[in-house]
Amino acid sequence: MSVVTRRATLGALAMPFVARAAHAATGRVVVIGGGFGGASVARALHAGAPSLQVTLVEAQSTYIACPFSNHVIAGLRPIEAQIFDLSGVGRAGVTVVQAMATGVDPVAKTVSLQGRPTLSYDRLVLSPGVDLNDAALPGYSEAAAQIMPHAWKAGAQTLLLRAQLEAMPDGGVVVMSAPANPYRCPPGPYERASLIAHYLKTRKPRSKLILLDAKDAFSKQKLFQQAWAALYPGLLEWVSLSDGGKVTSVDPANMTLTTDFNVQKADVANVIPPQRAGAIAALAGVADRSGWCPVDPITFASKLQPDIHVIGDAAIAGAMPKSAFAANAQAKVCAAAIIRALDGATPGEPRLLNTCYSLVAPGYGISVAGVYRPVAGVLTDIDGAGGSSPLDAPPDMRAAEAGYGEAWFRAITAEAFG
C-alpha cells in the first residue's frame, strides 16, 4: 500500500494535469511504443487509475525526439538535447519492458515479444509512430537512406544529413523531396528547408537548395514563403506538384531524383519518403488499406479491433495533424476513455488541441494551432479557432514565437517523459 501510494504521488507530481482520481478501474493495459503518444498514455493511465497494471513496451532504450531535430541538422543544437529515456515513466509507476513487440493476437488479447514472455491485456494501446514506406518510392530503401538520408526518424539519420551538409563544398546543390499527405509532421519539411537554407546562407552562400514537393499546398505555407522571400531569395527554390515537383524515383548511385519533368542531380539529397503506420499496427490488424489506422474519435479505439486503441502518428485522426502535441493530447483523452470504460462508464465527447512551432531562422518562429471535436465520427476543426501566426506580425512577435517554441519543447518532453 505504501509503495503504491508513493508511486501514485510521484506520478501525480510528475504529471500534474491528470486528475489524481482513485478510480476503481482494474485491469491490464499494455502500451506499445515509447514516443510522445505511448509515454504520455502510459503515465496518464497510471496517474488516472493507479489500480491499473500499466505496461509500456518499447524496443529502444532511448527515445530521440523528432521535434527540433531540424535544428540539429542545421548545426543549431546538439543531438543530446533530443535524447530521452523511459526511466521517468517507470518512476511514475508504469512497468517498462524493453523489447520488440513481434505480434498481437486480438482474440486471445496477447502481445508477443522478442525474447520475453507474452503479455496479456484487457486493453491495448498502440502508439507505434510511422514506418517509411520505401516501396512507394522506386529506388529508395534502407541502403539508399545511407546515401540519401530521410532523417525523418531522429538519430543516426539526423547526424548523417548534418555531416553531408558539412562535407559539401560551397556552391553545391542540396535537393529535398517532400511527400504527399498524410505524413508525420506536416510543416517539418518546410522548417527543415528553412534551416538548411540558413546554414547555407551563413556557411556556404554560393550553394542552392531545391525542395521538390508532391503537393501544391502545405502547412503554414504563406508564412514560410514570406520568410523565404525575405531571408533566402535565390537560395531556396520550392517546386510544387503542379510545377513538376513530385519525385517518382531516386537513384542513389548517381545521386539523382527523377520527377515527371526532370532528372535532378544532387550533391546532398534528403529524401522524405511516403509513410505508413508503424509495422505493429498492420500485425495487430488495426491498419486499413491506406496503411493508417481508423479510430473512434471519442475513445481512439480501433474501428477494426475495438479492444485496441491507436494514438499518435499511426492514427487517422481527421483534421488533427501527425504531431507530438497531437499525440500527447490524444494520449490523455484515450487514457480517460479507457479508465471510464473499465469503470463501466461512457466517455463524454472530447475536445483536443494542437500547437506546433516552426523555426525559419534563429529568432524567427511561427506557429499553427487547432481545436478539434468529433463531428459525424470525424475529428474536425472548430471554425474560427486555431490557425497560423499572422502574416503581418512584427519582428518581436516572430522572436517571441521562437522563444515559445523552445518552451514548448521543454514542456511537451517533460509532460511525456517526466
Binding site: 491528470v18 482513485a22 493530447a329 481545436v371 479557432a385 518552451a407
Partner: protein
C-alpha cells in the same frame, strides 16, 4: 460537480483513497493544456493549475477579446464558448 469540488477540498494533496472517485472529470479540452503548461517550460508558458478560477476565466476571456496580447492563446480560446472556458478554469483551479 459541486459535490466533487467539495470532496476535493477535503482531501489532502498527495493522498488518494482507493475506490473513492473524488476528482472532477476533466471538461472537454482541459487535458490538452498541460502539453505546454507543465510548469517546466518557462518563457511565458506559466503553470496554470491551482489558481483562482475566476482569475483564470478572466485571463482567457481577455485573450479572446484581445484586451490581453497573445501569440497563440487568442487562437485557442476561440475553440471554446464562455461556459466551456469557465468549466476548464474550475477544473484547473483544483489541479495541483
Amino acid at each position: 460537480m459541486r459535490l466533487a469540488l467539495f470532496l476535493t477540498g477535503l482531501v489532502l494533496p498527495g493522498l488518494f483513497l482507493p475506490g473513492l472517485c473524488w476528482a472532477m472529470e476533466a471538461p472537454p479540452g482541459a487535458s490538452s493544456c498541460s502539453g505546454c503548461h507543465t510548469g517546466a517550460s518557462g518563457a511565458g508558458m506559466v503553470s496554470i493549475t491551482g489558481r483562482d478560477s475566476s482569475e483564470l476565466t478572466a485571463t482567457m476571456e481577455a485573450f479572446r477579446s484581445g484586451a490581453r496580447p497573445a501569440t497563440l492563446m487568442n487562437r485557442l480560446v476561440r475553440g471554446f464558448d464562455p461556459d466551456e472556458v469557465k468549466a476548464i478554469a474550475a477544473w484547473l483551479a483544483v489541479q495541483k
